[in-house]
């Protein structure tokens, strides 16, 4: 009896980890399969945060750092293209916002998003001073009402887009995880906004990651205009399965 109770408790505990879309979300997301979707992925801070753990024979040393890449890479358009390509490969009618709306409207909306997520950050990174953590889920459940977002939404509606897939990450992460391996990752929050009703119909925390053997050297992520970082971001996004995420499988 005791063993059975323990199993049931363990099952109850584990069931908390399996967070999928609710029934209402499943219903609401169904039309996305055949509708026009506009995609926008923005990074709030154009920074890459590093963590490396070094074996020092008698002790372990963990070093963290944060570097600014805004001088050599404006990632938003490129990363948005990766998401759009992934969606198209899965037969969704997706377009990058950069293909349909003027850059000034997108930049204004992204600047506003950056300001909003920074002001509503869920906290500060405990080991990387100055780095903010992404807002809690409740923040993303409410559709934005800023003038900048509404201008972008209006332009999309004029071009017959019904849904807006918005992804927002605070920054990128590069981690030396041991045995010479290095990961490039980001943890964007993704949500689908119905542009007709201005309601969030699906919302979820995602992550993408790529693993390289770089001899543990994080600086290699920066060389050649950050080619390894760019490649890693694209590869990670390319593995997203929207058919599963949106419950079409």
């Amino acid at each position: 009896m005791k063993t059975l109770s323990l199993y049931l408790l363990a099952l109850l505990f584990l069931s908390g980890c399996a967070i999928g879309p609710t029934e209402a979300e499943r219903e609401a997301i169904k039309p996305v399969r055949s509708a026009k979707i506009a995609v926008n992925y923005s990074l709030a801070a154009k920074r890459i945060n590093y963590t490396e753990t070094l074996y020092r024979v008698l002790w372990l040393e963990t070093k963290t750092s944060s570097q600014d890449f805004s001088g050599i890479w404006s990632p938003d358009q490129e990363i948005t293209t990766h998401v759009t390509t992934t969606l198209r490969k899965q037969n969704f009618g997706a377009d990058s916002v950069y293909e349909v709306v003027s850059p000034s409207v997108i930049e204004a909306a992204n600047r506003r998003t950056t300001r909003d997520v920074t002001n509503n950050a869920s906290g500060a990174h405990p080991q990387i001073a100055g780095t903010k953590l992404i807002p809690y889920e409740a923040f993303f459940k409410k559709a934005p009402t800023s003038a900048e977002f509404l201008a972008l939404a209006e332009d999309l509606k004029k071009k017959n887009y019904r849904y807006f897939l918005e992804l927002t990450a605070m920054d990128l992460y590069g981690t030396a995880i041991g045995y010479g391996m290095v990961t490039v990752a980001a943890n964007p929050h993704a949500r689908v906004i119905d542009l007709q009703t201005n309601e969030v119909i699906w919302s979820q925390q995602l992550s993408h990651q790529e693993l390289y053997q770089l001899g543990g050297d994080l600086k290699k992520l920066e060389e050649n205009s950050m080619s390894k970082t760019k490649e890693g971001v694209g590869a990670g996004i390319g593995r997203w399965d929207f058919m599963s995420l949106w419950n079409f499988k």
């Binding site: 890459i48 070094l54 002790w59 070093k63 570097q67 050599i72 001073a129 060389e223």
Partner: protein
């Protein structure tokens, strides 16, 4: 194995493990000191390949120029030491990793190098604060 042999074995193990201990790729003080960047011709890409990305970028919106600020130091370093502890039974020994503290360097870490770029992305000046131009 004799006592002499076991001493050599210990030394050998220490030498191997020491040689395997990795260098830090977030600590870049030596890169900042030994770079071969050329004022007037090095580009942003050359700078990143030589000394990496900066900690911070200041922009001059009117002129279109940028100043890249480097410290060369990680923001934070924490240390984990193995600590041996005797459990209840005298013969049982366990080893734990104990965090002996964190050393944060962002607030009082001086900027050691600044690269200035013009609007075309070429280096127009390199300065070491408190040490004059180089």
């Amino acid at each position: 194995m004799t006592e002499k042999h076991s001493g050599w074995a210990c030394l050998l193990v220490l030498a191997i493990t020491a040689s395997l201990s990795a260098c830090s790729s977030t600590e870049r003080t030596s890169d900042l000191e030994n770079h071969r960047l050329v004022v007037g011709s090095s580009t942003k890409s050359d700078v990143v390949n030589a000394i990496g990305l900066p900690r911070k970028i200041d922009r001059d919106d009117a002129q279109g120029g940028e100043a890249w600020l480097y410290t060369g130091k990680p923001i934070n370093t924490s240390f984990l030491f193995p600590v041996a502890a005797v459990m209840t039974a005298p013969s049982t020994m366990s080893v734990y990793l104990a965090n002996v503290g964190t050393q944060s360097t962002i607030d009082n870490e001086p900027v050691t190098l600044i690269c200035f770029f013009d609007k075309t992305g070429r280096v127009i000046d390199i300065r070491r604060p408190n040490q004059g131009a180089r």
